[in-house]
Symmetry: D2
Subunit: 456 residues, 4 copies
């Protein structure tokens, strides 16, 4: 079927770029007018914030917004931090309004309208400030960067947490899945986007452009990302997919530059072997769950032969957890035989001697099963963060892969262990509910059977 | 199957269309599973709403959201109204949470964190419901339609006003100017969009496609609209512009199918002669102000010779107001001579006799000046709604045009009067502030001079 | 400046438009420089042609080419005709070169190289001239228009035929099917293209935009056109298709504005009910054959349920032919009973009386069968031009439809007769060869059976 | 400014790709049907060629064309060469037709029509064959590859030259500048095109993607290419441009990864420092001339401050020529002092010693001036091929740059010499004519002054 021939890709960024220039110039002029004698003096960020929330802000919102954002980005770090602090202190809810609204509620605690008026009055003023800053061309991206900076200062600064909460609230609305666009990323994608894939890949680093092409161009490789209309050149999250004939048990085979691709139509299995978020400033806004599920739908529609959807995932918390168990003589999660066997792990080359490696297989997989099915962290949660993500999505722990990743990093974080999580759309909802409500972990029989006999 | 995401216009709807089908089918299956024996029974909308806000909603949000939206659109009117009512009654703030948060504030009224926790607790649950409904493909458009329906039931139904307030709050965020895209609409625009321009034009009705072409294709005509990425085929607002050599004083000349276009480079003046909002469901979300100002920037950049930006605007409240003054013997806004002169207005053909018309020019313009500069409505506001819009944007009332619109509608609503509002970017901010704070009306000397001598 | 960010289509013309301006200005300057004192004097077209073929033409080809084309279009009709005549007389083969090449061939008539050198020498100089004119932006379109003008003067002007032959030769190469792009034309297509569909539709006139939408937007309607990269806004040919559940026998049902569309997936049959060429200047360059066959392939790929591909075609030569037979008392193609029956045809309202109409069915269809299967024109060809086109493409005459088109035109040209031609890809080649070599006409049994008993 | 106007990126290739599959399958089926018992036997290429020129070819042209092209590409080298040979021997002009046409001309040597009929008769049949092969999707590209192969066999095979002439003739028509599209190539261009820029860069090799980005992304770098609608992913030729504040005298500074870019608006000079053709199969079809001139126009329109357009060019023939002069004791183009000075050239490190290098500056530049202004090759032409290209385009030899390229290759081919050619649009035509007609070389005074005193 025919497709419109002239996809005009690059134009949007170009367009915004131009617009930005036009408006910024005007923004500068406007601001300069006030700066008067001291053209070189930096504008006061809080003053600009107040201006943006004032009457003037209604008339000249776009210009003031971009003035403030530009001034923030030009400022030195101390000034920026001071502004973030001011967001917490000076741009909270209006105390007088809150007081009045509270009194109304106290007069009639059952009055729905009063409660909702209280809700409005208690909205921190910075929420409206952020909405107005978003008027500026490029405003959304600038606000995401502003929060990224905020996150670096969060530790030990409780007031900033409130600012962060407002960012998170607004971003959850603005980056609602309904506003995201799924795009196929391939070798025809502009280089300006592809270089970001290289930069942001967080799971299995992309060495260079040949490595990248090897993940995008072959017939049995796919990559999808979510994009937001306001951040055109930036995937928010992306997933790399391999189409295979069976569930893979190691990653080296998938990334091999010399492997022979298969035809997509022959594949029975789609393997999500890397998922990377790209925007720290969007921390806490969840995309991965939606991305995986939509890609499953896409692939099912395109390639009806694919019936199995799994990940090939790292186990980043395993080695640290195991070290702890070995130190903790009282641990019930590993037994004496295992302790003995694990001694060889202290030799970094243990995996190179097939006999040694083989002797570790059973005890290590047993420990891994306990790690997933039995161990809990201080908050009572599954220890492994990747497991929490996939199990929380409703996936099932399908298989433990001994020596699935023998890279230095793989050995260090998980003694080479990798796992597959299975996405079975018909069971996702039940799995998710059981996990969320009862911490019940969906696992295949093979995983369950791997538990040590002492602790079934 | 996925399609090149930004294959620009036609494909995206197609893409969403396909996706919608895929997901809806799944949504139906999911929902059907619960409906069990009674496949034909309509799902309960409130139950679906609760499901969407529950654990299940986290796992199957997209499917439940589209299930609910589809069921709402399929339901009969009574069912839909009942659901809207339920949004008010059952999806307000969680009372227990509000109570607890209130107590915390009462313990320490200065605790910023407690106040912000109260803000969160007092958020009506329907806000989160709307955000989750927006997960569905086409969800934004469906919510806009839902509010359009709500607006029809608002009168005499105060609880629904609270629901409306939440819609307005969310839409203001989602349709923030930062998320809108300005597009030139011309004769190369897809017919599917152009037919909406015909349908939505609210000021000077477009008779047919020839009339439309006459407003888009000539070198001295422009049309711009704001679009939102989620409503691809729908302009949210659009403005029609004529490029001229002087400020026009009547609309017939602009719309004349036989007029001779001029070269755009020769124009000194851009005339905004029609601005139309298209989505009733977005009532109260303000676009016009931004649209006019951005179009001014665009035109300045493209055609530096254009230095005057004016409207040619109707005066929809004038005739009714004048009738009132004539009835009100005590009115000080018209004098005895004017009263006498206005008698001929009762003859619908008065404007056809040049002598009669001429005799009315001065008294009518004097009354018009008073209408704008002196008259106020019950709330102390300028009477004319179009004037409130442009003066509120910071424009200046520039000229009164006697017999500027002799169409039946023009005569009926304003005895043929039209006016020009001038957008001078350097004065917009000051005008806006003066108008907002002191109801001060920016008007040219010629308008001021038109005031009756008795009431200068 | 804004450019219709995602309106994709217009960009190409816009681009060429700009370029054209830039270059034309330069072209004018260049030409003006020569024009010296007489800036207002029109440049001599032949002189420009010689310049373009000269050394200067190598350096400044683009500018001279557009200068010549602009001057041609600005010239009055007599000047243009004179130039066309000069193309015949002064831009033929170079006589000296031909003479030399001929002598070489005569020295050795077997020398392949000499023969090919003769081929080169005998090439009319206007071919190279046309190729160089094509350097100008918009050159291809200008040459197509030039030939369109030439065609109007062809009659009685044999030398111009040679010019026409060169145009035809070059256009066949430039508009090779390999350079054409098939595009789906639908309600999302730019209005600037759609208005050309309205203008060019040659078979069943499109009344207005509602009629057009009715042919494009319903799920069971399609329209496809061939476009050439150099004529972006102009379909070269387009076909309108209806998707139906059975082979239709009349056109009114297809064009009915009130009919109920079916889902495309339910259709078993694709009906090509209108094919229109748009560019007179491309007369003789054949597109229709390729268009139909490619659309068949497209539809088969998109809608596998469609297995029957037919036309619903007019029979433009039938009424005139039948009138001749009736006049010709000796005609063996109609018999005495038929003659008698045909008398009622002289009443223009014959078809309104069911009994009368029914009495004509058999004799008229018998005559129609003879018209297709027996009658031949002076050159021994099938009489009907539409039949020659489809039979030449390899289609089969499938069915005769009595009163298939009761519009005034349909009654006038064919007494309401319409026919279906069937495109069966597996038989096209054999049918085409048989028709081309032996004038053998592929027809269904039902058509053959309709032949009068007297002439089976 | 150009923006990849029709960057038709993914959609067109995808489209053609799909189509190709559909049709090829059909093509194979068609061909297989004839192959009968021997499905595995390769089809006879000449037979397919004859079929394509026959009646069958009219009906099934697309399928046969792609069958022939696929079979050619699948065949072994000997089979392919045999087919090329057959194109020369069996697909020349039809001898009988030529004979008849010759006789007609001999009867009346003045008969224009007869001469043009002779032209037609003498057209080699392979021209029509190529036109019909072009019907196949991807046909143009396949024919370009076929000629690329032919070119490798040309040496010592005169009959193949005739085939090559026909390719050249058709390609000149199909790749007429009017059908080419200029596109800006930048960092937003698809990687699939960018990797071809890396592969095809012929002047200053691109080391890797960082080097590429350094030539595309900075504000003061541009790259433009000509594309043909039928070869969407393949630039036919591209030019790399640096925007600078003065005419550069060495290439290392331009390619330096660490240099500081300037703003484009500050540049006064555009430097074409690399032009690369990409398609060997299009040898002899001239693009470079048009490309440079159009890029000059584009840059003038976009950046009016740029007034100087120059190249920074290699001098590939200089070292070899100088070696010859040094061997030839009789050469008048270098004098005794120069001979003496040139002795140090035999030390490959001569340029590293500033004193030695400085001693060579004057004699080497004098020799260079003589090389350009005095020396001629056996055919009386300027010796340097790059000089022939730019001087032939009408450029002027502007400056000789001593040690402009000290890379190994630069030293080897030209003892480090680089030159600038100046494109002054107002003088191009005159320069071109003088060069073409009188071999007069446009050179700046500084170049002329560099001639040795002995030979001014």
């Amino acid at each position: 079927m025919i497709k419109t021939v002239e996809t005009p890709r690059p134009s949007r960024p170009a367009f915004l770029g131009e617009l930005f220039e036009v408006l910024t110039e005007r923004g500068r002029r406007l601001l300069g007018r006030r700066g008067a004698g001291a053209a070189t003096e930096a504008p006061d960020l809080c003053e600009l914030g107040e201006a943006l929330l004032s009457r003037r802000g209604e008339a000249s919102g776009v210009a003031i917004a971009q003035g403030l954002l530009a001034a923030f980005e030009d400022a030195d770090e101390a000034t920026r931090l001071a502004f973030l602090q001011n967001l917490a202190d000076r741009f909270g809810p209006d105390p007088a309004a809150v007081r009045a609204a509270l009194e109304a509620v106290q007069r009639d605690p059952e009055d729905g309208r009063a409660i909702e008026a209280l809700h409005d009055a208690a909205e921190p003023r910075r929420q409206e400030l952020f909405r107005r800053l978003n008027l500026a061309p490029g405003g959304t991206a600038a606000l995401v960067r502003m929060r990224e900076e905020l996150l670096r200062h969060l530790k030990g600064n409780p007031p900033l947490r409130r600012v962060d909460g407002d960012f998170a609230h607004l971003f959850a609305s603005w980056f609602n899945r309904g506003f995201l666009v799924l795009r196929h990323i391939d070798w025809n994608t502009p280089a300006s986007i592809l270089e970001k894939i290289i930069r942001y890949e967080a799971v299995h680093a992309i060495q260079n452009w040949d490595d990248l092409r090897n993940r995008l161009q072959p017939t049995d490789r796919r990559c999808y990302g979510f994009f937001h209309p306001q951040l055109v050149d930036e995937p928010l999250i992306f997933v790399e997919v391999a189409l295979t004939e069976e569930i893979p048990d190691n990653v080296a085979g998938l990334l091999d530059l010399d492997r022979q691709p298969i035809e997509a139509e022959r594949a029975s299995t789609a393997v999500f072997y890397s998922i990377s978020n790209t925007q720290r400033g969007l921390a806490g806004v969840s995309f991965g769950n939606f991305l995986i599920k939509q890609v499953v739908e896409e692939l099912k529609a395109e390639l009806p032969n694919i019936r199995t959807f799994v990940t090939l995932s790292p186990v980043p918390g395993f080695a640290a957890w195991l070290a702890q168990q070995r130190k903790d003589a009282m641990s019930e999660l590993i037994d004496a035989d295992q302790r003995l066997a694990f001694a060889v792990l202290d030799d970094p080359d243990w995996h190179k001697d097939p006999a040694v490696a083989e002797s570790l297989r059973a005890p290590l997989l047993a420990a891994a099963a306990a790690y997933f099915l039995r161990a809990r962290d201080g908050k009572g949660r599954v220890v492994d963060p990747v497991a929490r993500f996939h199990l929380g999505n409703g996936a099932r722990l399908e298989r433990l892969n001994f020596l699935g990743d023998v890279s230095a990093n793989g050995l260090k974080q998980s003694h080479g262990l990798m796992v597959n999580y299975l996405y079975d759309l018909d069971r996702i909802e039940a799995n998710h509910e059981a996990f969320a409500e009862r911490s019940a972990i969906a696992a295949s029989d093979s995983v369950k059977r791997a538990l040590p006999a002492s602790n079934p």
